[in-house]
Symmetry: C2
Amino acid sequence: MAPPAAPPYDYERDPSAIYRQSFSIVRSEAALGALPDAMQAVAIRLIHSCGMVDILDDLTWSENVVERAGAAFSNGATVLADVEMVANGIIKRLLPRNNAVVCTLNENDVPELAKRLGTTRSAAAVEHWLEHLDGAIVAVGNAPTALFHLLEEVAKGAPKPAVILGFPVGFVGAAESKQALIENPFGIPFLTIRGRRGGSAMAAAAVNALAAGLPEDTA
Amino acid sequence: MAPPAAPPYDYERDPSAIYRQSFSIVRSEAALGALPDAMQAVAIRLIHSCGMVDILDDLTWSENVVERAGAAFSNGATVLADVEMVANGIIKRLLPRNNAVVCTLNENDVPELAKRLGTTRSAAAVEHWLEHLDGAIVAVGNAPTALFHLLEEVAKGAPKPAVILGFPVGFVGAAESKQALIENPFGIPFLTIRGRRGGSAMAAAAVNALAAGLPEDTA
């Protein structure tokens, strides 16, 4: 790292060069060779989103997730996000069919629905996913309760999403909800990160990677 | 961690209990005693946002940042965010003066401005901060170039923000831009995390903590 000084600073200003150098550093530091080909772009984009190469140790996925997500995007699948931050992190121009991105967390009746159901607003908002759920891309970047609630709805007969990208973060329920996803008995393809780490940026990066790979990678 | 099973799952559904347990785990695992009192709520909220207790090792701040940010919020300071994800993560009801939250990244002329200036869109968007900058709360959660550009603008005579919360993330320029913030010769109070980690969730958590502390902490 160059010693910082007062402005003007010496730093890379070209967006293409920034992407290229970032991906190059990730490739040089991460053990990507151990991954299936289809997962490499996904792993690079996830690592790029958080600055942590070692998330590779916790990354977990079902064998078919890249293929299933790709097919779903091509079919025009809706993307369901648990929070607006995930929806905002999705790069809309990368979605192949101008796929809708839906976040129901701030719908008017969600606070009251949460009270009635005795759960969080994030979980209650999942009730409004049902009409979009069949074949959808689900991206959870914040709330363990949303992921748990979704799996419970599927158990009760709700339509199955095409894939679930599970990145709840934090200390209460995050690791457990992702473990439940990994062990989901419904055969729903998934991509997730074991443990406490996760977040909206990773969930959005997963959507972007599965939709389009690494189009900025012009090296 | 309880062994996961098929639904229904056994998990905490009460939002207050989730916050309480989260903060309690953070307090039990993080060496908060080493922090000044004023920084403890900030550190708890930051750790809570990312699920990583060890960010404490990299957290760096100027002595006066909590006091200065508090005064700025009370004065009705505008919050300037580099990306929409940061703006979305700010809990508006926690802002004491219904403070405006502004993100200029998606203004129409930003792509063309970026080309003209030979920099990223994130950096070009900072040009539109100038009218709001005097006494503002700046929260950078994504782009090193935005943070560098802001410091360069101040060097050229732009008004000084009240505080800069610097959380750019990634492999190219993130560590360097945060080091430049730490060493800023303008006396601007700051809060930042050394190294590659950071992100929108942390930047938003910093804003929320400095605006309101831990109002969910009812333990």
